[in-house]
């Protein structure tokens, strides 16, 4: 009943997240787009949990834990990068590049 619309919405949200990652240069915004993708996946989990058992909801729990950890470390990294380059644009994060 609600499964198909939920999966459709999830797919659209995921695509939006991918598009955002491709479209943006700001590391923080890209990070938010990643979160958007994670949430799209969460929606899939919850929707499928209705018909396949509550394990799906448990997995959402784990996704959230990972997302929280990722946000903490990722933002700390962005802070550190900003301190070096005075910018969070991915264009400027090319220290590994030759030259």
């Amino acid at each position: 009943m609600l499964l198909s619309p939920a999966l459709a919405i999830s797919a659209v949200l995921f695509t939006l997240g991918v598009a955002g990652v491709l479209l943006r240069r700001n590391a923080i915004v890209i990070f938010m787009c990643v979160e958007l993708m994670l949430n799209a996946v969460n929606l899939t989990f919850v929707a499928l949990a209705q018909s396949l058992g509550l394990g799906g909801q448990v997995f959402v729990f784990f996704v959230m834990a990972v997302a929280a950890a990722e946000a903490a470390v990722g933002l700390a990294i962005i802070l550190a990068v900003y301190r070096h380059k005075q910018s969070v644009s991915l264009q400027n994060m090319n220290l590994l590049k030759d030259g």
Partner: protein, 661 residues
Amino acid sequence: MTGTTVDLIWLAPALALLGFVLNGTLALARPTAKTLVSTIGAGVLLAAFGVAIAVFSAFTGLHAPTEAPVVFRYWSWIPVGTLQVDFALQVDQLSLVMLLVVTGVGSLIHLFSIGYMKDDPGYARYFAYLNLFVFFMLVLVLGASFPVMFVGWEGVGLCSYLLIGFWFTEEVNANAGRKAFIMNRIGDFGFMVAMFMIFWSTGSLDFDTVFAHAPTALTAGGTAITVITLFLFLGCTGKSAQIPLYTWLPDAMAGPTPVSALIHAATMVTAGVYLVARCNLLFALAPVSSAVVAGVGALTALFAATIALQQWDIKKVLAYSTISQLGYMFLAVGTGAMTAGMFHLVTHACFKALLFLGSGSVIFALHRAYHHTHSHEDAQDMRNMGGLARYMPWTTALMWIATLAIAGIPPFSGFFSKDEILTAAFARGSVEPIWLVFWGLSLVAALLTAFYMTRLMIYTFHGPNRTGEREQTHLHEAPWILTGPLVVLGVLSAAGGLLNVPELYHGGEWLHHWLEPVTQPGAALRPEAPLASGTEWMLVGVAVAVAVIGIVGAWQLLKPERLVPARNAPEERGLARILRNKWYVDEIYDALIVRPLVWFSRVVLWQEIDQRVIDGAAVNGAARGARALGWANRWIQSGQVGTYVAVFVVGVLLILWRAMG
């Protein structure tokens, strides 16, 4: 476990180890506590000797002589598949003899060391090493399997190295230690290969199992057993200083004299003889190897004796004498006369220890005299001695006992043991004529032995004194802590023959019967070679005559009055010079082995293979290859995260496309 005092056998090595630990700790923490160090160092040895006697008496009461040896398995050591090696000690007639020799002679030498090393700054370290040596020696003789024995074998090598280089601040000493170690490694290689092959052919390394399976698993006289025993003997030549690996032993005299007495005369160097005796069954199965053992022994006996003729360093003479006597022992065990070999081992331990300690006493006296006058003369050169009998009567008398013993003058101990060896060789010669050659060689060696020992005595203790006017006043008999052990050894050297008085003189042949359970399996495989008692008497007569000729000849030929002190001595010429330079063996080894090896290592291995092939082609080549690969691929690494993400998404899309069909 037998429930008797024999169970306490572990105490003997444990005590020595305890001594090492305590003295080692003291050496690090409080090296000046010399009283404590001597108490511990000599105390544990005396206690171990006590244990040995207790075990010995319990063992004699315990066993009918033919029973199997008592094996104590303490813990599993190397459990790998079918290879199950326990840490186990074995008590039987053979190991008990060795146990008594090691702890007994060791105790005396420890006591001697207390006086001899009194003023050395490394006193505690010395005793720690000495105790550790005894521990390993006991593991060697008591080990119930080849690997356990090998632990002791390696351990005594280590201690030998440490003690030869005891005064390591002088490069000569350190080099001597290294030489001994490296030469021993060559021998150890043989031992290890022999071990592998023994395991391969019999499936075990425990003595009892190996000896039980050997006659069935190995064909008598076959290639396998011959190779095994030859490799074993290679180990023996290293450890027991036989041709071709003997050259380290004279150099080992760089260590303190008691060390020379204990390790390089009485105990460690006899380990090879012990090994052959232990494996007498294997050698009995390999007649060729036995012949090699006997031949090398006889040749070494003669060869070393010739060199000893023209040495001036008192300890070098004794060192070559030791090599020569060890040759006798190998002749004995090669011939199959295990008892004779072990008998000579025991008597040799006594009189050679006595000779070394006596020479130590002399060196000690000379050193003290030179020390008083601040002279830098060589305290070990016989040309600087002479006429010491006046100053050191006890030492002179005891040294004479030992000299007569080693020369084979009845009724001193050496006469019985050496005579037994010669007789055995001659008897074997009646079956296999090659042994008559060996007999001849060893007879000549006996003549030379008597000669060079007398030479040593004449130059050292008789004739005019060449030490120097001022030094003479400072020459004294050594203190009792040095002389005491000499007296005990003197008694043993004189009376040691009682251990195995042959039937010829209506003796009981006690040692022969005692060792019979060990030697019987091997002896049963060898051809009987009985001798008529008339022949035996004749042989005795020849031996004694040879000894007497040697002594009298030396007395007649040598003129100690003509000798001049070492610093004024002229160069020798001719044969004397060759002998003085030890037949140039060291130089030949250097030219044939060392220099080619160094050249090969330096030019081929280092400059070609290592620098060109490994460093150049392999290491730098890999780096160059990686760099080229990276250079070729670096356009992928644009450094733009956005590009990476796009590529990543394309990849995901491809995977999805595949997955969706």
